[in-house]
């Protein structure tokens, strides 16, 4: 049974992003749909098949993953930043909520938003390429773990950041490049040697790969390395977020 305190914080965080659906749900929907239409349909005609599936279908897991990662990250980072700027972080810090409860509530809401956007992107893609899922449980676990990991990373970024520019640094300069270079739009098999090695060193590649196995039943590295990589990232990011919260760094004087 979850206590009233963490449940209140979790529901507040969910209601917060639902109050601005244009920004939190509609905007990523439009963006990822455009990716899908441009890369999947206009270029997809030339590429025919990748790894034995039509190109339009091949890119769906990557776009779904991009939606989950970005939205889980932005939910925690922007919410904490707003609380710091508005001064309402005080309301939380004077409460009897434990560090674990605070982190769980924030990350839980980030997972809801990440999964919600991922589902919407998948539904739009399904209208064009079919909705079949090869391993639904695997796909769900990969997405949920990724959302937890990036929700926790967003939490850390929100605590660290002093400005919204710093909040946006991570998605702009880290998440988006790593995702684009992480096999969203191509298979690692298609790349020449050095680029292929670089792709294989990118953690996002394994996350996309894990989801691709769950959704399409195709994978470059097999079903488990990706899932293991995401689980490891989850553990590290949650532990780091909890340690930062416990230390009071940039939150308590």
């Amino acid at each position: 049974m979850i206590g009233l305190g963490p449940r209140t914080l979790f529901l507040k965080e969910v209601r917060r992003f639902l109050r601005v659906p244009g920004q939190t749900v509609l905007s990523p929907l439009v963006t990822t749909t455009l990716y899908f239409l441009v890369f999947g349909w206009s270029l997809g005609g030339r590429l025919k098949e990748v790894d034995g599936v039509p190109y339009a279908r091949f890119i769906v897991p990557g776009l779904v993953m991009l939606g989950a990662v970005t939205n889980a990250f932005l939910n925690t980072s922007s919410s904490i930043m707003v609380m710091k700027l508005q001064g309402t972080m005080v309301d939380l810090l004077v409460s009897p909520l434990s560090y674990g409860e605070i982190l769980a509530a924030f990350v839980g809401a980030a997972v809801v938003r990440g999964m919600m956007v991922a589902s919407v992107v998948w539904l739009v893609a399904a209208a064009f390429t079919g909705a079949g899922l090869a391993h639904p449980l695997h796909a769900f676990c990969a997405l949920a773990l990724v959302a937890i990991a990036f929700g926790a990373l967003g939490f850390l970024t929100g605590v660290w950041a002093r400005t919204f520019e710093q909040v946006n640094f991570f998605p702009t300069f880290v998440i988006t490049p790593l995702t684009f270079l992480g096999g969203v739009f191509y298979s690692a098999e298609m790349l020449p040697g050095p680029l292929r090695t670089l792709t294989l060193a990118n953690p996002i590649y394994y996350m996309v790969d894990a989801l691709r196995w769950g959704m399409l039943g195709r994978s470059g590295a097999g079903p488990w390395p990706g899932l293991a990589a995401v689980a490891a990232l989850c553990a590290v990011s949650l532990a780091a977020a909890l340690a930062v919260l416990r230390s009071g760094w940039r939150l308590r004087g």
């Binding site: 206590g3 305190g5 508005q86 309301d91 939380l92 004077v94 009897p96 909520l97 308590r252 004087g253």
Partner: protein, 310 residues
């Protein structure tokens, strides 16, 4: 003596080489309005932030109802309500939602009766469904007080509660603070408006440079420190005073149109009044003036050095 509600023991807070608090020992008795007075930067906000969990002390222990604020933070935070100095609001929610969310953080489900009571007491009932962004500054400040009260704390900290507040609202807030005290809530007030402390406080602590200079019941502090002045206005100027008045320290003012005699705390003006009557001066008016808390505060700060207190 009854155990204090809040107790600081040897509390020090350092920011690098600067000591915001330097070994503070202080107790807040139950059921009182306790004013922490001090100039800006004296350490008032740091002191209460340590109790509320916003700041961690470098050394020393702080307890609320006997519980340590670090080791047993859940118990102490349930007992404490904090009205911060800076106005804050969450632009995503209404007044009612804000109060319900804050209560939820404390594990309290806000009953309709309690919600109504807070909204009416703070004159926010008409704004119940308004977004907090749409509230005036005074309303936002009242909402801060409401948020601090949702979990019915044993001790309420008000950090500069009437800074930038108009006279009417200030009077209303003071009345509500007295109501809370009458219901058994201990109030700790930080302020640099001496008028506020003089009006409200049962007990006063003066803090400067991170150290407590004096802690005393307000009435006794005023009695002990507050010198009096007798001022006699004359209908015609006089050139000099008779020896009987000069012996009492009287001096001429306003070009001979007034006589002023100072008396230390507790002393009587009887001899001065007898000497005045005996001198046959043309008395037009008489007024006495007692030092106010503000004068006592300034004089305590001038005595200055920590440890000069009683």
């Amino acid at each position: 003596m009854e155990a204090p509600v809040v107790s600081w023991r040897g509390v020090t807070k350092r920011y690098g080489d600067v000591a915001a608090l330097d070994g503070v020992d202080l107790d807040v008795p139950r059921g009182e309005i306790f004013a922490l007075l001090g100039p800006n930067g004296a350490g008032k906000t740091t002191l209460i932030s340590i109790v509320a969990g916003l700041v961690r002390a470098t050394a020393g222990t702080t307890t609320v109802l006997g519980h340590d604020v670090v080791a047993d933070y859940r118990a102490t935070r349930r007992a404490v309500g904090l009205v911060p100095q800076e106005i804050n609001f969450d632009p995503f929610f209404t007044v009612e939602e804000t109060l319900r969310i804050q209560a939820g953080y404390f594990g309290v489900r806000l009953s309709s009766d309690r919600l109504e009571e807070i909204l009416h007491a703070l004159d926010l009932a008409s704004k119940r469904h308004a977004n907090t962004r749409a509230l005036s500054g005074g309303m936002k400040r009242r909402l801060l007080i409401g948020k601090a009260l949702v979990h019915e704390p044993s001790v309420l900290f008000l950090d500069e509660p009437t800074a930038g507040v108009d006279v009417q609202l200030r009077q209303a807030l003071w009345a509500y603070v007295r109501t809370l005290r009458s219901r058994g809530t201990t109030i700790v007030l930080t302020t640099h408006y001496l008028e506020e402390a003089e009006e409200l406080a049962d007990r006063v602590a003066v803090i400067a440079g991170g150290r407590i200079l004096v802690v005393e019941e307000k009435v006794r502090l005023l009695e002990r420190h507050a010198a009096k002045t007798l001022r006699v206005a004359l209908s015609a100027p006089v050139a000099s005073l008779p020896p009987s008045l000069l012996a009492l320290g009287a001096r001429l003012e306003d070009g001979g149109l007034a006589v002023s005699v100072a008396a230390p705390p507790g002393a009587s003006f009887g001899p001065a009044l007898s000497a005045l009557a005996g001198a046959g001066l043309p008395v037009r008016d008489v007024e006495t003036r007692r030092m106010r808390l503000e004068d006592v505060f300034v004089s305590l700060l001038k005595q200055g050095e920590p440890g000069d207190g009683p």
